[in-house]
Subunit: 275 residues, 2 copies
């Protein structure tokens, strides 16, 4: 599915509202043209009304005039015809942060989800931050320690929205020290590239083929294709999981990564500052 | 120098006193034989007297009976003949945590340092935890953000004790999320392997040739020998440092790493549990 999609994914590492420059949200707003609609989906949020109001305020300041909200709290909500119609009208759909399992358990396979997926395949932009970012892949990380190394039993994963194949995504990456659990997620099946996205930073994925990095932080790419040894299947259920030969890239603003060749693309060199 | 050393280094990621099992300190105590002396050097510590008393208590509980303390607060202390003599008598010298610059600025090139280096070359065991761990290499990490990705200007390094060549060491690794700054340190010169050591966990380095992992956490090995691109020397002084093709190993208890071939060695498989 995702390979055929004509749309764009903007996957944000969280805390983008706290960035004074609003770099990432400006990129989103600039891609929403004058007569296009933005739909804010607060399914993940613990305080959906406040969260929606905050994003509405910010996006209006950034020049987006037509904004709808889908306050999805139950599976019944995700079947409501008025919300499906909002989905149909939207050219950009924004998933807020909170709990990624709320998104998938309330919306998975619902009419709203089917509509959103169709919109993405037809060229719409789907944006997700924090939990909304984690939920993008076919399999999502839902729990695991941020401040300890990976143990076999500590990582939990669940089926995600399935908008981007062959990846697993973690947010708040450097801020919460999540390298251990992202490596753990990649080790479970190295077909998936691990993407660790710092706060206020995003990847913009065009047609599920390549992404560009936007924002002040870094994006970590954990490539398990060359792993030569992993102790995951051995009898050390409580111990540290050993792994050899993980390949790692650290990318910053302007850098690109090709998801099909699994290779980073160097940013164009900036002209030297006349200091 | 370090290549010819006959001694052992025990490099601990900090917080080993808080480990109920005292796994790492037991390994140290077991290597100090009945009639051998341990010298505790509190040069790094902010509360040297309390720190010394705490280690004396723990090591006595672990069966070490002959313990001296070197409370080095000035360069004059590091020249005191009585402390040099304590160094000469010790078969194990333990550097506590605190500030690694206190160790090197007070002890670097002093008579105590010269004596300690000679003892190590002759076969003594040198132990360091936290700041005492960071100080072991020729160049040590002294500062840099733990909760953000690496920027060119953020990392600070300084000349270390020079007991182990071709490495840089960071402690409290997963607990403080220090992958970004360790990669940054390796990028500055990929001749150095980056070793990130979790709390209550240690590497035991024999004759500067190989190490074994001890304790409940992980040891991260960051190998920059295959880095294909780094933006470090470009004009993005305030931005994220891009790097491609870092090689990473995660090692747990019982795993080994060969410092000369730069290859991990798989732990011997445990017999399956009769479950």
């Amino acid at each position: 599915m995702s390979k055929r999609a004509k749309g764009t994914l903007v996957i944000i590492g969280g805390a983008e509202r706290k960035d004074d420059e609003k770099t990432v949200l400006k990129v989103v707003a600039d891609r929403i043209r004058a007569n296009q609609r933005l739909l804010i989906v607060t399914a993940a949020s613990y305080e959906p009304a406040d969260t929606a109001q905050d994003y509405i305020r910010i996006f209006k300041e950034l020049g987006v005039s037509q904004i709808d909200v889908a306050d999805v709290r139950t599976r019944e909500d995700a079947e409501r015809q008025d919300l499906v119609e909002k989905c149909e009208r939207a050219s950009a759909i924004f998933f807020t942060g909170g709990d990624q399992l709320r998104i998938t358990s309330q919306m998975g396979d619902s009419p709203m989800y089917q509509c959103m997926k169709q919109r993405y395949e037809d060229g719409a932009m789907i944006i997700g931050t924090s939990a909304g970012a984690a939920a993008m892949p076919f399999t999502m990380i839902v729990g695991g320690p941020s401040d300890a190394s990976n143990r076999v039993s500590a990582l939990s994963m669940a089926p995600g929205l399935g908008l981007l194949d062959y990846v697993v995504i973690d947010s708040h990456f450097a801020q919460r020290g999540r390298m251990g659990r992202l490596i753990g997620a990649v080790m479970q099946n190295p077909r998936n590239i691990g993407l660790g996205i710092d706060e206020a930073t995003a990847i913009v994925v065009d047609k599920a083929e390549r992404f560009d990095v936007v924002g002040p932080g870094a994006v970590y790419v954990v490539d398990g294709s060359q792993i030569s040894y992993s102790s995951l299947s051995e009898d050390h259920a409580e111990g540290i999981v050993t792994v050899h030969d993980v390949r790692l890239h650290v990318l910053g603003e302007g850098d690109c990564y090709d998801l099909s060749t699994r290779r980073p693309i160097v940013a164009k060199e900036q002209p030297a500052n006349p200091a």
